[in-house]
């Protein structure tokens, strides 16, 4: 029943730099059940976006496997890869940079349909575009507008229409609302959730905004410096965070209460390590309040401590 649509096994992506290798994703293993939403959270530069792009093979992984419906994507090429890509789409963070400024709204949404020859005639394609625009809440009169003439929310709707145009099964949402203001964020989130219900989509939702991720995800993966440190159902994470880093993240959420006004928010001490040639062992250990000697040699694999709750910490 709850089979996994996406399964990531020991995925690694190292970028060669002058000093050695930048470990953007280091041995991440995750799975996303069909029809659910995995929220990926973590601070800037922890490899969230790289992870999303590597799953779609927009970035080639260094090693590891990405299984989509049981098929290993990392070994596919040419026509097979194109076929799978129709099922997997991405929504970008910056809705302006991700739309070709020389194309009108209609052309932008029609582009995937034309390239993949989904319909026999152009008339059918444009008919489908009209329907897609209605689905994402874009009025028909905008069809011949250019992206720069629209506001951020409408631009993101174009991005969403384009992503669902080929009826994909899996969509990577790479911070789709972080460039928008709060009222528009809510509209876009609701749209994404409606689409998930109607089209049976599976999401991987990348964000740094914990309140957003709580709203939309069924499962949450917490990332720190290229590694996944905790993976569990969404409610469980907020109720019972186990990894010290997750705890620190959750205390950083501002509480809307007058009692909290004069209390200082506890923040994590120290700086984020450089992801270039990191030392072996737990990467959070230097900033960790519960740091012990045994942390040094720890290989930081996820361990299932409770049913469905995975943590990478030797002290739990």
């Amino acid at each position: 029943m709850n089979e996994n649509l996406i399964e990531i096994r020991h995925l690694k992506k190292y970028f060669p730099v002058k000093e050695g290798h930048l470990h953007a994703i280091d041995d991440v293993s995750l799975h996303i059940p069909k029809g659910e939403t995995l929220g990926v959270v973590g601070e800037s530069g922890c490899g969230k976006s790289t992870l999303g792009r590597t799953i779609l093979r927009l970035i080639e992984p260094t090693s590891g496997q990405v299984l989509y419906d049981g098929v290993d994507l990392t070994t596919l090429s040419g026509a097979e890869l194109s076929k799978v890509r129709k099922d997997m789409q991405i929504i970008f963070q910056d809705p302006y940079a991700s739309l070709n400024p020389r194309m009108t709204v209609r052309d932008l949404i029609a582009e995937p349909l034309l390239i993949n020859k989904v319909f026999k005639s152009k008339a059918l394609v444009y008919q489908e575009v009209d329907e897609l625009m209605a689905t994402v809440g874009l009025s028909k009169r905008l069809a011949s507008a250019y992206p720069h003439e629209l506001d951020g929310g409408r631009r993101q709707r174009i991005g969403i229409a384009r992503a669902i145009s080929m009826k994909p099964k899996f969509i990577v949402c790479d911070e789709p609302v972080s460039a928008l203001d709060v009222s528009i964020q809510a509209q876009i989130l609701n749209l994404l959730m409606d689409l998930q219900k109607d089209l049976g989509l599976t999401y991987m939702f990348i964000t740094h905004d914990l309140s957003v991720v709580r709203h939309i995800s069924t499962h949450i993966a917490v990332m720190y410096l290229g590694q996944c440190v905790e993976l569990c159902p969404s409610k469980e994470l907020f109720k019972n965070p186990l990894h010290p880093y997750t705890k620190a993240l959750l205390t950083a959420i501002p509480v809307p209460s007058s009692e909290m006004r004069h209390k200082k928010i506890e923040v994590v001490k120290g700086e984020v390590f450089s992801p270039i040639n990191p030392a072996p062992g737990c990467r959070f250990s230097a900033r960790c309040t519960e740091h012990k000697e045994s942390c040094k040699g720890y290989c930081s694999d996820l361990v299932e401590v409770e049913p469905g709750h995975f943590v990478a910490c030797p002290n739990i």
Binding site: R85, A97, N100, P101, R102, E111, N116, Y146, G159, R162
Partner: protein, 288 residues
């Protein structure tokens, strides 16, 4: 009645509508039309014989009704020479610019998009060509192949290609970095389609301006080569050649310098204005 070649909502209509609003560009287009008209109908306006027939009695006549631009040191009608010269100058300027745009543009686009070893080899080759002064390079090519119009075209084109490659490569690199290229990859757009429909339209602005400006530079560098006798061979008239001939009579007959000089100026200016206007008209962001 209005002539209708295209259906109403065709993108070209839109571009033309925006181009029309730009007064400087329309002025440039008007001047360009006049020069093109002179070049195309040169034979009807003035027979070519008039441009090359030497009449000893008519040496260095000042402009008159019979000879609107006067005559040169061999008694040839200077108006005819300037008008027929426009053919050579425009031919050289336009053809060399476009050939170098096509060759340099393709090379630059491939280098910028794919990068890697191919990029390295091509760019080092371009560095080698660029390290030789352009006049010297053209001179070497003409000296090796022989002095005639075709070899002149080759010589000027070769010396122009490196700068085109560099320009196109740099704009392609900056455009290829954008998110919408990644988006196009995610829905299976082919490299060919990405270069043609995503990168080139967005990289077009500087390329158009560079090409139209280079037409003016080409006319001048052809003039330079003609000046040292390596370009268009006498008695064929060419603006640069006319200028160099007139130089010897600078004080006696200064009008011989004015007319070809002004024609070069007008031609260069009109190409620049049209190029500027075209860049603005093609950019949907500037639409109003």
């Amino acid at each position: 009645m209005k002539l209708k070649l295209l259906r109403d909502n065709h993108p070209l209509h839109e571009i033309w509508r925006r181009f029309k609003k730009n007064k400087a560009a329309m002025l440039g287009l008007g001047l360009l039309m006049i020069i093109l008209f002179l070049a195309i109908f040169a034979d009807l306006l003035m027979p070519y014989e008039k441009a090359i027939t030497q009449v000893g009695a008519n040496r260095l006549l000042t402009p008159s009704f019979e000879h609107p631009f006067g005559t040169d040191h061999l008694g040839r009608d200077f108006a005819a020479r300037v008008i027929h010269g426009s053919r050579y100058s425009l031919l050289i300027g336009i053809s060399t610019s476009f050939i170098s745009l096509i060759i340099g543009g393709l090379l630059g686009a491939f280098c910028g998009y794919y990068g890697g070893r191919f990029d390295n080899i091509v760019m080092r080759l371009m560095d080698v060509i660029m390290s030789v002064p352009p006049v010297l390079l053209s001179l070497a090519v003409v000296a090796a192949l022989g002095a005639n119009l075709r070899n002149l075209l080759i010589a000027i084109t070769v010396s122009c290609i490196p700068s085109t490659v560099r320009l196109v490569r740099s704009v392609v690199i900056s455009v290829a970095d954008q998110d919408y290229i990644e988006a196009a990859l995610s829905y299976n757009a082919s490299d060919f389609r990405i270069i043609l429909k995503y990168i080139l339209p967005n990289a077009m602005g500087p390329i158009i301006v560079n090409t139209t400006m280079s037409i003016a530079v080409m006319i001048l560098s052809a003039a330079g080569l003609s000046f040292i006798g390596m370009g268009v061979q006498p008695p064929a008239p060419e603006w640069g050649a006319l200028l160099s001939e007139a130089r010897q009579y600078m004080f006696k007959a200064p009008y011989l310098l004015y007319f070809p000089g002004i024609m070069i100026l007008i031609a260069a200016l009109s190409f620049n204005l049209v190029g500027d206007g075209l860049r603005d008209a093609l950019d949907p962001k500037l639409k109003n």
